[in-house]
Symmetry: C2
């Protein structure tokens, strides 16, 4: 199977949410593993930058904290798992050190398309519309597409 370049679809279901849909050429089990196994996540999450996974307790109540290292220094991100339903759904909070206390709730759904592909639907819920729009204008789309392209490459090679 070749990794076709897929485009992410971004929408705004409500004034506090961003919804991103993206299809991957890999089974749901493999996409799930790429999201939940530290040795795999570290290969795509940082879009080529080194990521140190300081904490990654993938279970309800567990904490996560990743530090991305780049030319300009480093950026820390952290949060906590609200729900982990294997191969199906993860709900977790997300906070960037640069805006401490501004918490985003991310719901990631893993949908088996039945043809060997998996559609990932990520819904990000913000505290209000300004925080949502600020995030949209921060260049998140570019970063996200780079992460997803890195995930494509990981999935293509680990077949």
């Amino acid at each position: 199977m070749t990794a076709t370049a897929q485009r992410a679809t971004i929408s705004k279901p409500t004034d506090r949410e961003i919804r991103v849909e993206r299809t991957f050429d890999a089974s749901r089990d493999r996409v799930w593993d790429a999201y939940t196994k530290p040795e795999l996540l570290a290969q795509w999450w940082g879009r080529g930058n080194k990521v140190v996974l300081e904490k990654m307790e993938v279970e309800r109540g567990g904490h996560w904290r990743y530090v991305e290292h780049h030319h300009g220094g480093s950026d820390g991100f952290e949060g906590r798992y609200r729900e982990v339903t294997p191969r199906d759904r993860i709900v977790q909070t997300f906070e960037w050190d640069g805006m401490p206390g501004y918490v985003i709730i991310n719901t990631v759904e893993f949908n088996d398309l039945g043809d060997g592909r998996t559609k990932l639907i990520t819904t990000s819920l913000f505290s209000n519309q300004d925080e949502r729009d600020g995030f949209l204008n921060s260049g998140m789309e570019g970063g996200m597409n780079e992460s997803y392209a890195a995930l494509d490459r990981l999935l293509a090679k680990s077949e």
Copy 2:
């Protein structure tokens, strides 16, 4: 100065918020200290129960984590400071281990009433109305009044 029993006033400014106003017979500096110094906070926050302050980094971006020990076991609470403006305002997130990932944003304002008393205004912002109402129905009012009464006692004796 005697610590008069004060009543907290609870209101719902919006469908996602709870606002609590409470006056204390002590200067703003002393109420601020009781909120931000670990050795003082530990004396009132747990309403008589032992509280272990595992983390209390009172600065923007700092983390806090308190574990309250009681007959039934223990309860953990944690969050992060979004804003710390000395003697004036603290904004911090609040999460109970029993509902991981359900984050409340608490804003505490310290108002000097000019007569030796301090009015504390705490606004709690929830992600949605259901979470707000669930919290209101969880017995928070009783627990809060017990904490405030313990704070009254601390302020009366440390004069």
